[in-house]
């Protein structure tokens, strides 16, 4: 508790390039960027594979393989390959981290929609894309959102690794703090990351209420 007061009570921690607002903003920046890139890749791919059934095995296998990638190892690898100074060493591992949950949940969500519903949709005269966006996606939406939420939380929690390669973000408090044995800073940084993850969780719960039809929400 004292550590918390030391950290959050220190006015120096609230201003300047090392201040909480700047670090928080940097953290959010990496996270949002990585999340968006991952979603742009994984969502369309997941929808397509779920709808057509093509490449399903490949998706599941590569998603599992990607899950086994150590984020930190990937970070070091990218640094070795392209050096420091850009944002890529942190973006690439985060994107790789975020793709599997989005991809797998989107694919499973779409694929898992009741066969009768799919049949009825085609039977009514909906075309392929109409079947996907008017019938399958609305019904699969809770699962798709779950995938996005898991990815977002993992990204926010893992974006601390940016500090390893001299980039900003909340990881700086933790990594720099460990180096200088400044435990209030380590603890404060960790608390901020947790709060951010909770905010993401809350944001998705809200989104779920807004975009998922009550007719689908009730069933699950």
């Amino acid at each position: 508790m004292n550590w918390l007061i030391d950290f959050f009570g220190n006015p120096d921690n609230w201003s300047g390039p090392d201040g909480i607002p700047v670090r928080l903003l940097q953290h959010v920046e990496f996270s949002v960027l990585a999340f968006l890139i991952a979603a742009l890749i994984a969502l369309p791919l997941g929808l397509w594979v779920g709808h057509t059934g093509r490449g399903a095995v490949l998706v599941v296998l590569s998603a599992n393989a990607a899950r086994a990638l150590p984020t930190l190892g990937l970070l070091v690898l990218v640094v070795l390959l392209i050096g420091v100074g850009t944002i890529w060493p942190v973006l690439i591992p985060l994107v790789a981290l975020a793709i599997p949950p989005i991809l797998v949940n989107t694919y499973e969500g779409v694929r898992g929609v009741d066969r009768d519903l799919r049949d009825a949709a085609y039977g009514m005269g909906l075309r392929g894309r109409q079947v996907l966006f008017r019938a399958l996606v609305p019904v699969a939406l809770p699962l798709i959102l779950l995938g996005l939420r898991l990815a977002a939380i993992q990204v926010v929690a893992t974006a601390t690794v940016a500090a390893y390669v001299g980039l900003g973000g909340l990881g700086r408090y933790i990594i720099d703090g460990l180096a200088t044995k400044d435990y209030p800073s380590v603890f404060g940084g960790a608390v901020l990351v947790v709060l951010l993850a909770l905010a993401v969780q809350f944001g998705f719960a809200l989104l779920n209420r807004v975009v998922v039809s009550p007719g689908v929400r009730q069933v699950r």
């Binding site: 009768d116 519903l117 085609y122 039977g123 009514m124 005269g125 909906l126 075309r127 008017r134 007719g215």
Partner: protein, 338 residues
């Protein structure tokens, strides 16, 4: 009219689902495809709206080969009802019914007004319109499925075991509702079922399929019951064929006798049979609307075997003695055969 002209469906593994099927489903009538599972009845139905494409032969819709029509365009012009209703769970009932009108680009207001009209037409309360499918019972969902199929007023309706998943009482009311709707709408309906009783009840014409996609018999229900084409059809029709056949013979022709003094009346309506042990039960039928099956039933329900004929208001017209009933039954069409 829907014409099957030498239609065969053969799958890549060599399985033949439908074998050289030729038949005609007349406009404005209900044609029932019935048979055991694996007989190709559903495949045949789904080839009409090209959910499955035939391998050989042609299916003509009022003379036009369905293969010449782009599938989704074809399907928007054909009502389609499936077993589990297949409603869109994320849409309200009113929007479910308006699915095809929306696809056809109708104005939203007009589509919804049409949906409300159909909701009422299939016997559902207007306040269900704002609900979601999960809030409705199975029977209600099935009615919505029928309303959705009718929304754009297609001339043809395909129904794939639509009433199989509901309990017998609901099924019966749905069947009666369908017959009532059909008497108003005169659609060309193709109806698939594995239930021969349903087939006989609903069909103007019944096509009995046998495993392997062969058409075993194609005739009106009365002929089907009295003259099954072969042992397979006879067995499939099951027991009670003789009694069920009576459902198709109107009781209008029976010979009535004047009511005897033992029949106790009140305001011209029967109350019971007088006897030493007090009033005995009676059975009644209406020769104007009922079949010989109802007359026989009335006779069996009567303590003395005499069926009471009544008019639409329940007033006695006369009585039907066993002998006269026997005469009517054995004199009925096809009675001597089968």
């Amino acid at each position: 009219m829907i014409t099957f002209d030498g239609v065969t469906k053969r799958y890549a593994d060599g399985t033949v689902a439908v074998d050289n099927l030729s038949l005609e489903a007349a406009s404005g009538t209900i044609t029932v495809f019935v048979g055991p599972s694996g007989c190709g009845k559903t495949t045949s139905l789904r080839m009409i709206n090209r959910m499955i494409d035939a391998t050989q032969g042609r299916i003509l819709l009022d003379g036009q080969d369905v293969k010449q029509i782009e599938p989704s365009t074809l399907r928007r012009g054909i009502g389609y009802v499936i077993q589990q209703a297949g409603l869109f769970p994320h849409r309200r009932i009113v929007d479910n019914i308006a699915t095809v009108p929306y696809l056809l680009g109708w104005d939203r207001k007009k589509a919804r007004a049409r949906a409300m009209e159909l909701l009422e037409r299939v016997g559902l309360d207007a306040k269900l319109a704002r609900r979601y499918p999960f809030q409705l019972s199975g029977g209600q969902q099935q009615r919505v499925g029928v309303a959705r199929a009718l929304a754009a007023d297609p001339p043809v309706l395909l129904m794939d075991e639509p009433f199989s998943a509901v309990d017998p009482i609901v099924r019966m009311s749905l069947q009666e509702e369908l017959l009532r709707l059909q008497s108003e709408l005169h659609k060309t309906i193709v109806f698939v079922t594995h239930d021969i009783d349903e087939a006989v009840k609903l069909g103007d014409t019944v096509a009995v399929f046998r495993v392997g996609g062969h058409l075993a018999q194609f005739s009106d229900p009365a002929t089907l019951l009295s003259e099954p084409a072969d042992d397979f059809v006879r067995e499939f029709l099951g027991r009670d064929r003789g009694i069920r056949r009576l459902s198709f013979i109107p009781a209008a022709g029976v010979e009535l006798s004047p009511p005897p003094p033992e029949l106790v009346l009140e305001d011209g309506k029967p109350v019971g049979w007088k006897s030493d042990d007090g009033l005995q039960p009676y059975g009644s039928f209406n020769p104007g609307t009922d079949s010989l099956r109802a007359a026989l039933d009335a006779s069996l329900l009567s303590a003395n075997g005499i069926a009471v004929a009544v008019d639409g208001d329940g007033k006695v017209l006369g009585v039907l003695a066993r002998e006269a009933l026997d005469g009517a039954i054995s004199g009925g069409p096809g009675a001597a055969r089968g």
